[in-house]
Symmetry: C2
Subunit: 404 residues, 2 copies
């Protein structure tokens, strides 16, 4: 059912647009907001005033910029009063963080863990413990200072997430199947705020598009090399999630029918040719060697080891193959490479460009920017927080008035 628009929706939408503009473009004067939104001065005054009373933005004294006329007050996002709890679940570690509305990480904690503790119960217990420690730390640091309202909980999981009920349908590396992580976590944390769960690559894509290398892009494709390969497509700041939220599983995109069998059962998936395992294998290292093996590989590349450089060149070739397919299907203006891919990008840049050039469709120049991610490992943290901030951004007044 398509819900129609009602009169108050106008206000809600315009509040969102102003807040969003400030988050994306940084501090702006009121008059800049007027020209950016097309609204009148009075409308902007009302909207900024309401956001200010919701403590979501602050107005600073006008600064004269040398041009004639009365100077306009500067409005910026107020990063002091609200926050999101970002929870990251990886195979080898878990992390929790408090993220402010401007995307900055206020405080965070990480915990390495042995493979025996990846099961649901152990994971949730470890996360709850970490959250309690973070809370204690916050209380000490605050020292009578600011109370930051936590508005949402965003959870990153390396697996397939069903959007409708936040269930982890499959997370092969964790051994989870149909795991109701959100429900279990909500009970353990008892914060009274429902968690929202997302796929790690999708969250990375979201963060890069809003605060990282994808800022300014309309149609961004994010491809990240972790143990496997993940991806996400973001149109106009919104992730394309697909019917159930499973979109972006580019790792299992068939590129080589003569290739290797994938963990998913099919043959020749993209992630059998690119990503950590494929690269380590080609470089003659243990493909299950994890982070330590990757560091070894990068060191060897640094010292121009031939086998290693050849492996990276091969990686570039297959990366280009898949990216070409995705460009033909999605037509992005920017492709952001994350994770392992962004680390080896400087080394494989030339080869990658050379492989991409002739593969363009019909000789038509596609004008696609291929760049490395700029947020690094923090992308997932920020992305999880963005997920948690979703309701606030969609309807600022409702969310802020709810718990006040």
């Amino acid at each position: 059912m398509v819900v129609a628009v009602r009169a108050p929706h106008v206000r809600q939408t315009n509040l969102t647009i102003v807040l969003d503009h400030l988050r994306r473009h940084g501090p702006s004067s009121r008059s800049q907001l007027v020209s950016a939104t097309g609204l009148t001065r009075s409308a902007i005054a009302g909207l900024v005033g309401e956001l200010e009373s919701l403590r979501l933005v602050i107005e600073a004294a006008p600064e004269s910029d040398g041009s004639p006329g009365r100077p306009s007050p500067i409005v910026r996002v107020d990063d002091r009063h609200v926050g999101a709890l970002a929870i990251e679940i990886f195979v080898d570690e878990i992390g929790v963080a408090i993220v402010a509305l401007d995307g900055s990480i206020v405080s965070s904690m990480r915990l390495a863990r042995p493979r025996e503790r990846v099961a649901l119960a152990a994971t949730v217990s470890d996360v709850a413990g970490l959250v309690r420690r973070l809370e204690r730390q916050r209380r000490v640091h605050r020292g009578g200072g600011l109370e930051r309202r936590i508005l949402g909980v965003g959870v990153s999981v390396p697996g397939l997430i069903r959007e409708s009920d936040n269930v982890v349908v499959a997370a092969p590396n964790l051994g989870w199947t149909n795991t109701p992580i959100a429900a279990v976590l909500d009970e353990a944390l008892a914060l009274g705020i429902p968690s929202i769960v997302g796929n790690d690559a999708d969250l990375g894509a979201l963060a890069e598009s809003r605060f990282g290398a994808g800022v300014g892009s309309d149609h961004m494709l994010f491809v990240t090399g972790e143990v496997g390969v993940g991806g996400g497509f973001v149109v106009a700041g919104r992730p394309v999630t697909g019917h159930s939220g499973y979109a972006g599983e580019v790792g299992h995109f068939p590129v080589n029918p003569a290739g290797q069998r994938c963990t998913c059962g099919a043959v020749g998936c993209w992630e059998t040719e690119v990503g950590e395992r494929a690269l380590l294998r080609r470089a003659g290292l243990d493909e299950h060697g994890g982070g330590r093996a990757v560091e070894e590989l990068l060191a060897r590349a640094e010292s121009s080891d031939e086998v290693t450089l050849a492996a990276i060149a091969e990686e570039a070739k297959w990366l280009a193959t898949g990216i070409t397919g995705l460009i033909n299907v999605f037509d992005p203006d920017t492709v952001v490479l994350g994770g392992l891919f962004s680390r080896i990008l400087p080394i494989m840049r030339d080869r990658l460009d050379a492989e991409l050039a002739p593969l363009q469709y019909m000789g038509v120049p596609r004008d696609v920017l291929v760049v490395g991610a700029s947020l690094g490992p923090q992308a997932v943290t920020v992305g999880a927080a963005e997920l948690a901030f979703g309701p606030l951004l969609a309807d600022p007044a409702r969310v802020m008035n709810a718990g006040a």
Copy 2:
């Protein structure tokens, strides 16, 4: 610049929602509109009244359905007063048609043409001639009857279209490059209505999603087998066009690096393995034999010719490979197969299902419906008209009041 929402936008949006609902779900009573949109009875009364005075809908007498209460008048799309001109440019023929607001084809004409006339000038001159003949026929048939206002011109071209200025960037089968078809056509037709150009596969996707096999689907993927392979993805009734309008070129999606060289220059594109040329080649027929060769192939399949059936089975295998990749990337709820694929679907159904089953991601059931297209060759006609109706659907009052 994101334009903010203003008060009149509410009405515009609600008019669109009501009109759209009637087009998609067929005639509805006012009370059905109330529950579908969430608006009040008074609001619906106002909206329906305005659409009626714009001559876009008609209200029929209430029909009692046996339930208690006052019966509600039936509202349906008025298909008599407005229309779109759909122009289809193929390699071997061109077609023009008048399509009503409800998606029905009012009148149409086709013209087969020799390969010598595919150049821009000859094409436009042939199209203009055909449009004039259609106009004459309309005038005769009308016989003092209804005047149908033509609100837009939609043009289908088998090539890459730049959305921003309706230029055909590349149409290999026509030999066109950077061809400003819309501008030239506007001058030749002199209708005073700007043409909007779309890719044939994208238009087929749009039509199937609104009036064909994709009705009711939220996330539809359309894959059509013509000489090459085209595709389109439609989310919530809107085509995903990409940054420049090039999205959906699934034919040049790399599936077999050990395969054949494609006309685009790359190796192993999907359309080297599936589509008319690939199928004819495998069946031992002339791959450039066109429609006649396809009919021969279908006849042989009918009489259970072994080579032909093996070729179709191979087609099913490669079709499944590509579809799997697209499902993993897009997560559609429905995949609609068009063109050649829908014709051979009954023959390859079992093989296709068998190939698709094990290729699902991580053993998670994906619950994707794979169906044949239901509009046949009319899909492109209807899709071109939908493109032309775009402005009307986006703002009914403005468009109808403009030329009145």
